[in-house]
């Protein structure tokens, strides 16, 4: 039993493949999440301030992207653009490097597009929950809008948003499995291939789950720490 496991994981190299898949997952998940969050914040602010037209557009974006399966977003992004990108790349003579890098780029962008839609809702909800009087205080002191946002609104909203962001992150890291359709061997796809070939689906899916669990356990401690830091000034509860 243990010997079988050893052969499977080490001699046939699945352990390394799984780790490599895990690295792809982390890299794409992290970059996608960060990019999504960075874009989501200003969009959520526009939505929160009910800026005409923009706010409707943001709403439409968030409803559509949250409403369709993530796979479609990736399909459309990838298969919708790959021809054009290829033509451009070939013209400029970078075909090979683009061929290799493009799935990663699309992967990150697709994950960002998806996580962004979810982040917008989380941040908007948190912004709405910040007591208005506290912002009036900042206004009346003539704090510049940017400062008000970065020093008052954002920290207060972040405290309220943290749980939601944590949820989006946990979801995003697992959504990276969708990018396997562009040919990236991330963790889940590696596990699926291993499961199929070795006919031990349980073993490999559980290993994948454990690796995911390990990643989220690390992020969870970071989130817990952030939560404690942001709760300063609100009294223990």
């Amino acid at each position: 039993m243990l010997a079988d496991f050893w052969i499977l994981m080490v001699e046939r190299g699945w352990a390394l493949a799984l780790l490599r898949g895990g690295a792809v997952t982390i890299a794409i998940g992290l970059l996608g999440m960060l990019l999504g969050f960075v874009v989501a914040t200003p969009l959520a602010v526009l939505r929160w301030q009910k800026v005409a037209v923009v706010s409707q557009l943001v709403d439409a974006y968030s409803i559509v992207v949250r409403g369709v399966p993530g796979l479609l977003v990736i399909y459309l992004l990838f298969f919708g653009s790959v021809d054009m990108v290829k033509t451009v790349a070939t013209t400029f003579g970078y075909q090979d490097s683009v061929d290799n890098a493009y799935p990663y780029i699309v992967g990150v962008i697709a994950i960002a597009v998806i996580s962004c839609a979810y982040s917008i809702e989380v941040i908007r909800g948190a912004l709405q929950a910040v007591p208005y009087g506290l912002l009036e205080a900042a206004k009346s002191l003539a704090l510049p809008t940017r400062i008000t946002f970065s020093r008052i609104t954002f920290p207060l909203a972040l405290r309220l948003a943290l749980g939601g962001i944590n949820n989006v992150w946990q979801m995003t890291i697992k959504d990276t499995s969708l990018i396997s359709v562009v040919g990236l061997q991330e963790l889940m796809r590696t596990a699926a291939i291993a499961a199929g070939i070795t006919r031990s689906p349980f073993l490999f899916y559980c290993i994948a789950a454990a690796l995911f669990f390990g990643m989220t356990a690390v992020s969870q401690t970071l989130f817990s720490r952030a939560e404690r830091a942001l709760n300063r000034g609100f009294g223990g509860r």
Partner: protein
Amino acid sequence: MNEVLKVHELTKAFGSTNVLDGISFRMKEGEVISLIGSSGCGKSTALRCINFLETPTSGQIEFMGQAISVSCNKRGESEIVNASYIRAFRQRIGMVFQNFNLWPHRTVLGNVTESLVYVLKMSRKQAEEVALSALSKVGMASFRDRYPHQLSGGQQQRVAFARVLAMRPKLMLCDEPTSALDPELVGEVLKVIRTLAEEGATILLVTHEMRFARDVSNRMIFLQEGRLEQDDTPEELLRNPATEGVKRFLSSVMPASA
């Protein structure tokens, strides 16, 4: 003396109810004016309109020679002329809120230094010095590292007052700045306000404490249901109430001095 504030025909309606009904008055440099009137007569709303936290329905506010006016357009919406002045106004107009509005995630010191650093562009060190001197004026310097929720009501109010004080605004709008303070501290605040006025600040305050109002202010303005009923020196207003409303209000206030 210079005219600091000119409020002209200020009107504010929430939905269909008029809360302010064409209020006009002027304030000169160094003047202290008390805004008095019964609960819900529009005092807080008036203050909030002056620095445009609330957009007036119509009227004009002139501060230090710059005027922002609001008029009703055809579709019944308020239109602000010179909205770009609003920030300039707010930089030199301080406001103490009726419910304090301290930032819960910043310490006492942080609440005060914030605007010093980011509006007056002081260095952090200088800001802390200024903040501490403002805090010590209201006896709160020793609480510098507490968070607002660790303070009593009166302590929070004093921090809110110091937050504005530290900015040395040209005009201070104080919404019941002593409501949660004991008489001893009220006296302290009174002293601070007097000093400020002597140094050239102009102060418009809402208060229910007639004694305090009388002691501190050059003029008193009485509001009733959004209308300005009387604008006089304290002595005059207390001796010769102009309308029935003023008289009735005062009779319940100062039975002794009537």
